[in-house]
Amino acid sequence: MSNIKILSNAEIERYSRQLIIPDYGIESQIKLKSSSVLIIGCGGLGCPSALYLSTAGIGRLGLVDNDFVEISNIHRQIAHEIHHVGVNKAKNLAHKCQSLNDQIKYDYDVILDCTDNVITRYLINDVCVLLNKPLVSGSALKFEGQLTVYNYLNGPCYRCLYPKAPPAHSVSNCSDAGILGPIVGTIGSLQALEAIKIIAGIGKSLSGRMMIFDGLDFQTRIIKLRPRQIETCIMCQSATDTKLSQTDKNQILDKFDYSQFCGVSNYNDKSQNVTVL
């Protein structure tokens, strides 16, 4: 493996078109090379995120998904092809990213939430808050997409915004409401963009703001969000409580009853998978 703090001539040639951007430059590329991103969910959002972070030169990419490729995935999940049906999504995406290491690590610098259900989103958020990691959260349904950065630069976490889970019967997912490929392509690409900006320390991230995209009418809006809710958000409160050790914080997660909180009778496969964090 090449030296993590300098760029080889081959790397300079390969990344030349981003190195020459004045706001980016060689320092950003070295930060990218020495950083790691964990992508949870290797479907419609995870595919473009992972592809663009790979080609941009991220040092380590972690991919988590215990779903298997289905025929109804491939219209939008551009790393998965018809002959991959039945293959594990994370493995297949990792293969596409030419990464040999799909092992889950604990020390990722940035986390991408590319999942598709409420319970997993709360769980990923809480882990990120308690470990103090920025979380780039994308979601999509039908012709619409939403994108923000949680738990970063005093912006809110997912739970600060949504202290109570939505009623289970009010939640639609891609299986019952549908989703268009270019929508997840757009949001997933933008998740990769936000991860790169956070790692490189450049630009203005979407922390404290959220992009709302309506692809059918083609309307975009960027809304202003509340700041971190230390007083009322149970996770942000615990994360900033100096009397709590890391072990105490880990126990908060173990004790929290996500299925009761979300009003569902049991975890689904996806959320079980993410608990290995």
Partner: protein, 97 residues
């Protein structure tokens, strides 16, 4: 009259005949808070399943309210007093990917 633009997105429009944008007028002989507006919407615009819009006299969990593109929590939440030409948007959070 108090002229308001009411918008729904992220699926919240499904409760309102799939109409995303509504122009409404409210009598201006009184003050209107967001709390009052929620009750008015429930009585006048809502087409079905009120429990998917209002719960315990506030918005149901999973819908974010925006006042002129700012989180209502920055502006006093249920107690915010509406001004003429305000845009009030109800965004249902998406979870898919």
């Amino acid at each position: 009259m108090l002229h308001l633009t009411i918008e729904f997105s992220g699926g919240a429009e499904l409760l309102f005949n799939n109409v995303k944008k509504h122009q409404i007028e409210l009598p201006d002989n009184r003050k209107w808070t967001i709390k009052d507006l929620l009750a008015w919407i429930k009585d006048n615009l809502l087409k079905q399943k009120p429990e998917l819009f209002i719960q315990d006299e506030t918005i149901r969990p999973g819908i974010l309210i925006l006042v002129n593109d700012s989180d209502w929590d920055l502006l006093g939440n249920l107690t915010y007093e509406l001004n003429d030409n305000d845009n009030i948007t109800f965004i249902s959070t998406l979870h898919g990917g």
